[in-house]
């Protein structure tokens, strides 16, 4: 009997061609009823394209999709929702100034009175033990709570298939645990879940089956519980994955960067004020700053890079010299390079060639400008050097930054700063949106830099990354930086609580913490 039930969703031979790329190449897989199915792959492996076709945003060039055994003919998301396909996107579409309920009402296809809707919402919240106040204004909610709005939105449609796109990238460990509970409950009720992620230990913990995509093709289908993170990662990238060699027993030297009582007002309406931040980083040390997005990371980076000035010169000391009110160029000359999280338009100018993007920050330390004149051949040589040493996939130093994929541009930017051999390097999100191979490469480059005596500050939302790389770790929450802790002795539980800060229901969910990530967490994916 059992095998006569058609799968909830079956895809056969799906092919989608974009100008210049074959995004999906003869992709076939099936999702059973009540199954949590992982779709695993690096950036650009074709995951998003596949999902967009299921959700009716795009149509395949070839191949067929079946929904409960019948051809799937969703021509747009509205039709997909009517069939019972729900989707939670990585980036939420919420109005900050409206309440939870108002946001949900706006996203509903059918008209429902606000009272009836509220009753339905409360029903769903109760059924899935989700804590969310329908009358709170979205701008006051944490990221985890915002995601819950999107989940409720999807659940209101009684979905038969729920697609989750990178749902945990912005959550604290406690919020992740809570999310997994909800998803398991949904699956036990027969709802299938397509879970898109590149975080391997989450997939091992949650998913029944994993389909691995590489270069638009299905390379394997496996049972994550029988695989190791390393084996799945290698299938994803199609090669050996070297674990980051942390360099045992690194010696710390002098304090290279000291921040004492840095406070800054909110730059704009949605900014975060920095409150009395103090820390110091020694030569050879990697200092990690964890935290959920929007808790002052960007403001802190701007204050360190010099884009924002501190109130007094002595607040930031670089190699013993006060630089709190100096310009970015002055700080760079004095040995501090920084990389902001936004690559397009901040760390790089998309319309500029790679050579010109080199001039952007390396003109002083690499002497690409002499008495006001740009040394064009030197700047092309520098770009070529980055491309060669960091394995950047680009047509050459004349390629525009915008033409590079996210991961390649990140490699280029990291290379640009690392090849300037700064005494202090401050980076935000070093491997965001970067594929596993490139991430491992960047991590190794950072560790090697520390080995060579630089002081490094890494601001990241990826806790696994920070635990793998840093020697010392602090958590930033609402502009306040926690006391630094030694990573060797840090507890995930404590870090999670600090990340949650005053935001949410961390106290009660702390009881059900995820197990400490396996030793494999050094394998960054």
């Amino acid at each position: 009997m059992q095998n006569e039930v058609p799968p909830r969703l079956e895809m056969t031979g799906i092919t989608k061609q974009f100008p210049g790329v074959l995004a999906n190449d003869d992709v076939s897989f099936a999702i059973k009823r009540g199954e949590i199915h992982a779709l695993l792959g690096e950036n650009g492996a074709g995951k998003s394209t596949l999902v967009k076709m299921i959700y009716g945003i795009m149509r395949p060039d070839a191949g067929e999709m079946f929904w409960d055994g019948a051809p799937l003919k969703a021509r747009n998301p509205k039709e997909a929702r009517r069939l019972g396909i729900g989707m939670v996107f990585q980036h939420f579409s919420l109005f900050e100034a409206l309440t939870v309920l108002e946001n949900i009402a706006l996203g509903m296809d059918g008209g429902l009175s606000s009272r009836a809707l509220e009753a339905r919402v409360r029903e769903v919240l109760k059924a899935y033990k989700l804590t969310l106040d329908p009358h709170r204004v979205v701008s006051t909610l944490s990221v985890g709570e915002r995601q819950r709005i999107e989940i409720v939105r999807a659940l209101l449609l009684n979905p038969k298939l729920l697609i989750m796109d990178e749902p945990t990238s912005v959550l604290t460990p406690q919020e992740v645990t809570q999310l997994f509970k909800t998803l398991r409950q949904l699956a036990s009720e027969g709802c299938s879940i397509l879970y898109i992620s590149h975080k391997l230990n989450e997939i091992k913990e949650l998913c029944d089956t994993a389909t691995i995509l590489r270069g638009g093709k299905v390379v394997d289908e496996c049972d994550p519980s029988k695989e190791t993170s390393k084996s799945m990662a290698e299938k994803m990238i199609g090669g050996d994955l070297k674990a980051v060699a942390k360099g045992a027993e690194r010696q710390f030297g002098e304090v290279q960067l000291a921040v004492r009582g840095l406070s800054l007002g909110r730059g704009h309406d949605f900014g975060t004020a920095l409150k009395d931040i103090s820390f110091s980083v020694h030569s050879g040390e990697i200092f990690g700053i964890a935290g959920v997005a929007g808790n002052g990371q960007n403001e802190l980076l701007a204050a360190l890079s010099g884009e924002q000035h501190a109130k007094a010169d002595g607040v930031i000391e670089l190699c013993g010299k006060p630089v709190g009110t100096s310009e970015p160029s002055t700080r760079r000359k004095a040995g501090l390079c920084a990389v902001p999280e936004e690559r397009h338009g901040h760390a790089a100018v998309p319309d500029y060639s790679l050579a010109n993007n080199g001039i952007l920050t390396a003109r002083h330390r690499r002497e690409l400008v002499r008495s006001g004149l740009i040394k064009h051949s030197a700047s092309h040589d520098f770009a070529d050097e980055i491309i060669a040493e960091f394995g950047v996939m680009a047509t050459g130093s004349k390629a525009t930054a915008g033409s590079l994929s996210g991961g390649n541009l990140q490699k280029f930017i990291m290379g640009r700063e690392i090849l300037q051999t700064p005494e202090v390097l401050v980076i935000s999100q070093p491997t965001w949106g970067v594929d596993a191979g490139a991430a491992a490469f960047i991590h190794q480059a950072l560790v090697d830099m520390a080995q060579a005596g630089s002081a490094i500050v890494i601001i990241s939302q990826d806790l696994d990354e920070l635990l793998a790389l840093s020697d010392t770790l602090s958590v930033i929450n609402e502009g306040v930086l926690s006391a630094p802790m030694d990573v060797e002795n840090a507890s995930i539980e404590e870090i999670g609580l600090l990340m949650g800060g005053v935001h949410g229901e961390t106290a009660d969910s702390a009881k059900t913490l995820p197990t400490k990530p396996e030793a494999e967490h050094a394998v960054q994916v």
């Binding site: 210049g20 936004e342 004149l373 915008g402």
Partner: protein, 360 residues
């Protein structure tokens, strides 16, 4: 058959250079049609406006005279526009530059010497820059939109000009005409080609364009202007001060407009008159865009717009086309150019409608 726009992976370089040419050609076609419909000789209008100035060698010197101020102002504006600073009031800075030069001329009325012209040039540049300083500081200090302030100050400049030539600067020997005394030989631009009306303005325009080209493409200052304009956050990250860049970009565009004013006053006009504002400052906006904000492009665009000015005068006498027709042609050119810009980032693709769905 349906068409739609599809984003290009990279901006098209071919379209970047092809669209200005296409805009000019399309302007001719549409212009011919429009003027035929409203009862003029449309084809004749296009011929007289766009081609007679080129085919008739007698008109070449007129072209040089008209193109020079357009190029000088256009180069300055293009530098500002690259920095994302929208100086719309070059006409005003041009007038004040001309007035400042006239001021020097009136003070040195009974003197002679090689130093007078350079001094007038400096006064012109300083006048234009000083006049744009008001919007510049309002923009930097109070974030007042420079588009409005520069534009409105143009009308102030016109009234300052009128006040001076009708009042304190009026020549005692002009029989009531509102004009200053004529500039003497030391105060007038030399002719560079004997027997023509081409004065030093033309070579100066070429030099200005070449220097600007060098500065914008080879120096860190040009790099800074471009970066602040195209990616302000990246510029701040790179250590370029946005405010300093905005001030400098405005001073350069104002200063060059002032220089153009001085060259006009000391050149073709030879004195200050109420007819001095000749719309060069506004037309130079079209020049800057048609030249793709590139100094060498501006050089060619300046000549194209000069052709329409000279051709407009020809058409007035030969086929009785009203003077406003030139304005229509120029405006159409800018409109078509800006509309065509979408082709740089997008391509037109045919939408293939699946057979099965056509029925629905």
């Amino acid at each position: 058959m349906q068409f739609r726009f599809e984003k290009r992976a990279e901006p098209s370089r071919i379209m970047l250079y092809a669209t200005p040419v296409a805009a000019v050609l399309l302007t001719m076609v549409l212009g011919a049609i429009i003027f035929t419909i409203i009862g003029y000789d449309g084809i004749g209008a296009v011929r007289e406006i766009f081609f007679t100035p080129l085919t008739n060698s007698l008109k070449w010197q007129d072209l040089a005279v008209k193109a020079a101020p357009l190029i000088i102002i256009g180069v300055g504006l293009s530098i500002g526009y690259r920095a994302n600073v929208w100086n719309i009031g070059a006409e005003g800075q041009y007038i004040i530059g001309g007035l400042a030069a006239t001021g020097v001329a009136l003070l040195t009325q009974n003197m002679s010497g090689w130093w007078i012209l350079p001094l007038m040039g400096i006064a012109g540049i300083a006048g234009g820059a000083a006049y744009v300083a008001v919007p510049a500081f309002l923009r930097v200090r109070l974030k007042v939109n420079e588009i409005l302030t520069t534009l409105m100050l143009t009308y102030v400049a016109v009234n300052i000009l009128n006040y001076l030539v009708f009042g304190p600067w009026k020549s005692p020997t002009s029989f009531g005409q509102p004009q200053t005394v004529a500039f003497n030989e030391s105060q007038s631009l030399p002719y560079i080609i004997e027997g023509t009306i081409v004065q030093a303005g033309a070579p100066i325009a070429i030099i200005v364009a070449l220097v600007a080209w060098f500065v914008m493409s080879r120096t860190i200052f040009g790099f800074q202007i471009n970066t602040v304009g195209s990616a302000p956050k990246a510029a701040a990250y790179a250590g370029f001060s946005a405010n300093k860049t905005i001030l400098l970009a405005l001073f350069i565009s104002g200063g060059l407009a002032g220089l153009a004013g001085m060259l006009e006053a000391a050149g073709p006009f030879g004195r200050m008159v109420p007819q001095f504002p000749s719309n060069y400052g506004f037309t130079a906006i079209i020049v800057a865009f048609l030249g793709r904000l590139h100094p060498i492009g501006v050089l060619f665009a300046g000549i194209v717009l000069a052709i329409t000015f000279v051709g407009g005068e020809v058409a007035q006498t030969t086929i009785a086309l009203p003077n406003a027709a030139v304005g229509i042609f120029q405006a159409m050119m800018l409109f078509l150019l800006l509309a065509g810009d979408i082709l740089i980032r997008y391509r037109v693709v045919r939408v293939v409608v699946a057979k099965g769905r056509e029925a629905t």
